[in-house]
Symmetry: D5
Subunit: 121 residues, 10 copies
Amino acid sequence: MSTRPARTLEIVPNPHPDRDYEVTMTVPEFTCVCPVTGQPDFATIRIRYAPDQHLVELKSLKLYIWSYRDQGAFHEDVTNRILNDFVEAARPRWIEVTGDFNVRGGIKTEVRASHGKRPEI
Amino acid sequence: MSTRPARTLEIVPNPHPDRDYEVTMTVPEFTCVCPVTGQPDFATIRIRYAPDQHLVELKSLKLYIWSYRDQGAFHEDVTNRILNDFVEAARPRWIEVTGDFNVRGGIKTEVRASHGKRPEI
Amino acid sequence: MSTRPARTLEIVPNPHPDRDYEVTMTVPEFTCVCPVTGQPDFATIRIRYAPDQHLVELKSLKLYIWSYRDQGAFHEDVTNRILNDFVEAARPRWIEVTGDFNVRGGIKTEVRASHGKRPEI
Amino acid sequence: MSTRPARTLEIVPNPHPDRDYEVTMTVPEFTCVCPVTGQPDFATIRIRYAPDQHLVELKSLKLYIWSYRDQGAFHEDVTNRILNDFVEAARPRWIEVTGDFNVRGGIKTEVRASHGKRPEI
Amino acid sequence: MSTRPARTLEIVPNPHPDRDYEVTMTVPEFTCVCPVTGQPDFATIRIRYAPDQHLVELKSLKLYIWSYRDQGAFHEDVTNRILNDFVEAARPRWIEVTGDFNVRGGIKTEVRASHGKRPEI
Amino acid sequence: MSTRPARTLEIVPNPHPDRDYEVTMTVPEFTCVCPVTGQPDFATIRIRYAPDQHLVELKSLKLYIWSYRDQGAFHEDVTNRILNDFVEAARPRWIEVTGDFNVRGGIKTEVRASHGKRPEI
Amino acid sequence: MSTRPARTLEIVPNPHPDRDYEVTMTVPEFTCVCPVTGQPDFATIRIRYAPDQHLVELKSLKLYIWSYRDQGAFHEDVTNRILNDFVEAARPRWIEVTGDFNVRGGIKTEVRASHGKRPEI
Amino acid sequence: MSTRPARTLEIVPNPHPDRDYEVTMTVPEFTCVCPVTGQPDFATIRIRYAPDQHLVELKSLKLYIWSYRDQGAFHEDVTNRILNDFVEAARPRWIEVTGDFNVRGGIKTEVRASHGKRPEI
Amino acid sequence: MSTRPARTLEIVPNPHPDRDYEVTMTVPEFTCVCPVTGQPDFATIRIRYAPDQHLVELKSLKLYIWSYRDQGAFHEDVTNRILNDFVEAARPRWIEVTGDFNVRGGIKTEVRASHGKRPEI
Amino acid sequence: MSTRPARTLEIVPNPHPDRDYEVTMTVPEFTCVCPVTGQPDFATIRIRYAPDQHLVELKSLKLYIWSYRDQGAFHEDVTNRILNDFVEAARPRWIEVTGDFNVRGGIKTEVRASHGKRPEI
């Protein structure tokens, strides 16, 4: 289990900054490690955001998600950390991150957090 | 059929108490006993809450749900009791509990109760 | 085809009358008779209500639904009659009854009626 | 391809005119003819309305829908014409007509139009 | 990879301009080329609009969509460009364009943009 | 609960008796009465047969199925009785009858019986 | 209701006559008229065949299917007639025709007929 | 955790012993206890059999399944034990028992065992 | 529309040539051009094969599929051509190619061809 | 990327070695690393076997699957390696291993291999 910080998200200019619109990226291949048991966890991460001046670059998002592979992370915390990193990198007008984790102990957990006010689109 | 009180839910600190976010836990393996007929009942319990200062610890939730296995419980009552116990333990900003019970007598019953005001997330 | 009135719905005290909550009962086995052609009709009846001082007792609901088996009934009328009987018996804070009838003449009909103002739950 | 007007919709009294309620009729067997190419078109028509003093009689609706079989009709126009005919015949408090047409040229088209203000039910 | 502008959308008069209604066109066969890698991309494009004085002619929409086949286009940009072209051609009261792109690098992307204020229908 | 025999199935000539082919009729609206408890039972009946000299006439099948509405019948028995009546009436080259009954006591029951040797079609 | 014979199916040479392979064509837009009641019937027709020297030309199949629109036809008969016409036109090594008809009188009917011996593919 | 033997299955005469036919009973509400961890396990049990002289009585099957509620049982063993008990009680011509257990440790297990030779039905 | 031959498939050694096993590759992003109308066609191609001494290299398969983008191709012919190219490149013990093409003229076409004898796996 | 051998599978005695039966274990959480690109791969592994004298112990299977997390592995090879390891550890009468891998480069790959002759169950 590693304690390295996650990789940095990279950005590109938003080609239509004068309009509110919404981008949804679904990543079914998120995996990290339970900090208590050391066992792997699996989740689908869904990021939905209204870009302001920048988009997140797709390949850097892929590498960012991969960088959690050896990290210890609790469900509620890691979903909020992804949200924070995305906000810091791209400064979207609004963003929602959902972590939909696989069953553990017969219980399925989903965490959903957001930042900013969703524009009407 | 037992009359022991249900096990206690345990809590851990919320790592992001400064933000409204939502946690959904789905437990498809709830079973209790009908107080009238003594026959087993089965349900999926879904708990959706916005944590305040504490999260409910996952393993204690699993044990709490198991502790109903020998309890006599009506559908409407047990759903509200789970809600009350969760509120008392974790004091969430908002919480909704849904009990989705299997068909009995050709009728399917679902009970949904909530506490507090749901934040916009 | 019978003209007997439907059986009476029985009630039990609401164990949590101090809280608004919602009970949904789905009955996929409703059958009655078309008053014009004498042919059987089939429907799924869904009752969703916020109880006030009383719940409807499950077994009496089953017998009430069965009592339509030989009754002549039009789709729009019978859905409203079930709503009226439920209101008279249990005096819920809010109730919605939906009758989802099987295809006749290549047309599928669904009727939805409500009584009272739905509380925010 | 015919230019006869569509058959007339017939009505029956609403047995519960003192209450707002909603009737949804789904007709998966609508067919007409493209006025440009002469080729048959197929659609599912869904009519959702809140009756006022009258219901539309089911059998006359079936015959009304059949009467389009040889009519030339564009997607957007025919959906609005069905809405107009229904309004004229039954004077509902609110009505929505949706025409969900099969794929043509690799494109699927759905048209949705309404009349009046939907009551809260 | 071509840099030709997309084909022009053609219009026909709206047969019911006095009423707000909604047309949804779903095109599952959109393909263009990634400007960075030269690799083909695939998407389902969904256009939902409330026409004003004009409808978009169906066959010209098909040809318009085909004209992207050799164009280089980023997901976020091309969805907004389709929206702009549609607005310029048909001047609808409201329009929403959604581009639902196939998985690339294990990530699925959906872009949704709109123009104007959606009427209540 | 009635003990009248079921209605008679009527037949029409098979228009293609020189060829083995297969007809499947699915009836989702079968209902009878439990001989022990007097409670209604519901099932989907599926009849699959290879006609010889006769087909079963569709309307008489509908009336035959309806005639079970007041009959007392066990799941295993009634499925075999329908098979026997169909064999007696139409003398098919092969026939299979499946009764797919709704859940009772938390248990779903399906009964499948056949007569004759299925031709290769 | 017309008694004109159906349109003729046209053929094109099989580009790979030296190999057994299988072509499946599904037509969800078949409609004809009930010879008894004059009411329209709807079906999905599925044709699965192993071509010999010829394929059936796609556009002529479309027109052939359309030519049933005004024909009176029973379910069992019309499925066999389509099989016969296809055999006569294309002389396939093996062919199966399935007619999957919409619900009439609460009963769904599917007819499946074949000709020749299916090669192992 | 109990070590009492399971309840006895009761039988009734087969009303059609002269014919091979098949009965499938699906029980989605099986629960027992893991002998190692003491944790509850959940499964859907499916029993498919061709009766000989006897059927298994439905209510006794329900009670038999319930009697595992406090028993310790491994997946592979309990599925075979149910098979053995059923064979001993009803002596069917053929029987297959499938235990479809819920996910444990991220792994889903299904066990399928049979006795006798399945007749062609 | 191009007449260039398709790109060449490349191969790598089979790491387990001493065992019969099966590889299924599904490509939902096949597109070519109709030789008659010049319009684009879309299909999902599924290749299922039992390798002998070689596997087909995944990236070269992707480029091979892309090389049809500007090719004119009929449904039946192109499916057989892909089969032939795969056989020539990898010499599998058995292979089946299925082309599942999008609806054209209201008709969906699927073509399935194979080469060699499928081993029991 | 590691080159350590995978963890060892542990076994327990088969409680019913005198009977042929079948165990299916589905593991949706397999992940390894592409030996060429270093990128993570994801798959669902399904193991179906007829045990002889031993079962594979569930927890050791979980740890065995986890041990691939840092291994470089090609799709076809790793599926066969899991099969070999399982055969060596448990010596089943028959076993089939299927690796169902996520989309890469727009192509989905499934590998299926088996060992021994499947008994009739």
